[in-house]
């Protein structure tokens, strides 16, 4: 386990966020880490009750989401790599 800073892009949030995570964090934990400084501070939850997922940021917003139990290390996320935290319609 080691610390890593990634850049979170939470749906509806006007700010990108630097998120401190551990490499053994699951995607569910990454989501929680990204919501923590944002929701209720400067933005609302993008859709209360809905499932949020994590994917790499791409020009078309069309990357496949990571499995919720995949870890940061397994996803090969790098220092300051940007990820989307978005509402899953699945």
């Amino acid at each position: 386990m080691s610390a890593l800073a990634i850049i979170g892009r939470l749906e509806r949030d006007p700010h990108t966020r630097i998120i401190d995570v551990d490499t053994d964090f699951t995607m569910q934990e990454v989501i929680e880490a990204c919501l923590a400084p944002a929701v209720g501070y400067q933005t609302r939850h993008p859709k209360p009750g809905a499932t949020l997922r994590v994917r790499l940021t791409t020009d078309g917003d069309d990357a496949q989401p990571f499995p919720q139990d995949m870890t940061v290390e397994q996803a090969n996320l790098r220092h300051f790599q940007q990820i989307d935290i978005y509402v899953s319609e699945d």
Partner: protein, 503 residues
């Protein structure tokens, strides 16, 4: 003895040039300092500009300008104007002086480079006056806020900001180092005299002068009007430089210099000017919106100058127009949320009346930026003002050094544009900042944003307290707080906001 009319001697004196015999031409005018474009000396000798001024005339006029500005200051100093002024207006002064005063000394060095290294004798002459102009601007904008330091320590940032590692100071220094301090005399002239001074200082100096006069602050209004009258003169250096470049087949190089500098300075000045105009000046004192000023000065005047010179609008013109309606709103929010990092006290000042004005000036504001402030207001009204202070950090742009933010809410456009260079990931606020980096990665790759410094060991430990100390907040002065102690947030009908926020 009868003195000659100026017209009888001016052009001869101004155009004096010589052929070196003890050193080579390239030793006298090293290409990397003087002209990397290889334009013939004879072409530079055609340099001409409309302002003809002798040193005697210059000194007389400048002395009168200074006398005017200082006498207004002396008159206002006898009043209690600043003691009674709206604290948000004082924040505009603190931001301006911290960002601008020492930048004027930097500009003095830029003009000095043109004075020494330009191959155009007429340009050397004009740049000499420009150099003296900038010295005056540095001195007067350090002197005026100095009297206010005893009133409020944050005014000390006029002297301190550019020597600090505050993130907002990095924003200004990075841009100015790029366009003013580290280029050859020709490119500096295009970037500084044409893009910066012809294009964008108008908005700062004329726009804020009007707002300051409406606020009854004739000291500041006179001061920046006086400065702008100098800028309007020495800014003229850039136009003949561009004409010579275009005429000598260097249009592409000129265009690129324009495109880089215009964007870089716009990103800084939108914060410096747009936020005070659209948020801090009380509603009944606002002259025009930032967008209206930009439309007049940039969308009409500057664009016409570009086209008249045979240049094009920057390739990112549509992105720029979108940015005029977006960037300063994002940063009004971001700087306010991270206000403890600042040397001024921003105000949210988004009460119901202000919100209606913003929606009128920027249709769609309520559905994007308005939703941001809704959350803030809810926190204030539900007794959680501590939740209005941001925690954590936003990502910062590796070019402009500004927090990477964009429209939130239902039209969500926030994202960092990233690229990998030599194994390192760089983040940018826009495709334009990314484009500038890609043009010359070696020029920019080693500079670290404040966020980079938190993780590369330069700020260690990277605790919130230590980060603030590193940036001078709580050291040079107290960091920022809401200028109006959140009073503006108490005028809302909370139930209406909650309904709107769920839509």
């Amino acid at each position: 003895m009868t003195m000659l009319e100026r017209s009888a001697w001016y052009d001869i004196a101004r155009d004096t040039n010589w052929t070196p015999s003890y050193v080579t031409e390239d030793e006298l005018f090293p290409p990397d300092q003087s002209d990397p474009y290889g334009i013939p000396k004879s072409e530079w000798e055609t340099f001409d500009e409309p302002y003809k001024v002798s040193y005697r005339e210059y000194v007389n006029v400048q002395r009168e300008k200074d006398a005017g500005a200082y006498s207004v200051k002396a008159a206002l100093a006898r009043s209690t104007y600043y003691e009674d002024a709206d604290p948000a207006y004082l924040s505009m002064l603190k931001l301006h002086y911290g960002a601008i005063a020492l930048s004027e000394y930097a500009a003095c060095q830029s003009d000095a480079r043109m004075t020494r290294f330009s191959k155009a004798p007429g340009m050397r002459n004009m740049a000499t006056f420009g150099m003296l102009d900038e010295l005056r601007h540095g001195q007067i904008q350090l002197y005026f806020p100095h009297q206010l330091v005893s009133l409020d320590r944050q005014f000390d940032w006029a002297h301190q900001a550019h020597h600090s590692k505050n993130w907002a100071a990095l924003v200004g220094r990075h841009a100015l180092d790029d366009v003013m301090m580290t280029r050859d005399a020709v490119t500096t002239s295009v970037m500084l005299n044409f893009c910066f001074e012809t294009g964008l200082t108008n908005v700062q100096m004329i726009g804020l002068s009007a707002d300051a006069a409406n606020m009854g602050d004739f000291t500041f209004s006179n001061l920046i009007t006086s400065i702008q009258s100098d800028e309007a003169r020495h800014a003229q250096i850039g136009t003949p430089v561009l004409e010579i470049m275009v005429r000598n087949g260097k249009k592409a190089e000129a265009q690129q210099a324009v495109d880089i500098a215009f964007w870089r300075i716009h990103r800084v000045f939108a914060i410096l000017t747009g936020i005070p105009m659209d948020y801090w000046i009380p509603l009944d004192k606002r002259d025009r919106s930032f967008k209206e000023y930009m439309t007049e000065f940039i969308g009409v005047q500057f664009e016409r100058q570009l086209l008249d010179l045979g240049l094009e609008r920057p390739w990112y013109w549509d992105i720029f127009l979108e940015d005029v309606e977006t960037h300063h709103h994002c940063q009004a929010a971001a700087t306010w949320a991270w206000r403890n990092t600042l040397w001024w006290n921003p105000t949210g000042n988004v009460g119901p009346r202000e919100r209606a004005w913003l929606e009128q000036k920027y249709p769609g504001w309520s559905d994007t930026f308005g939703q941001y402030w809704d959350v803030i207001v809810e926190n204030v009204q539900s007794g959680h003002p501590e939740k209005t202070e941001a925690i954590g950090m936003p990502a910062m742009c590796n070019m402009c050094q500004i927090p990477i933010s964009n429209k939130g809410g239902t039209v969500w456009k926030t994202r960092a544009y990233q690229l990998e260079h030599e194994g390192r990931l760089y983040s940018f606020c826009s495709t334009v900042c990314k484009w500038i980096f890609e043009l010359e990665p070696d020029r920019y790759k080693t500079f670290n944003t404040i966020a980079d410094r938190m993780y590369n060991g330069e700020i260690s430990p990277n605790t919130p307290e230590n980060i603030l100390r590193y940036m001078g907040a709580g050291v040079i002065s107290e960091g920022g707080r809401d200028a109006h102690d959140l009073e503006w947030a108490k005028a809302y009908d909370l139930s209406a906001l909650s309904v709107a926020g769920q839509q």
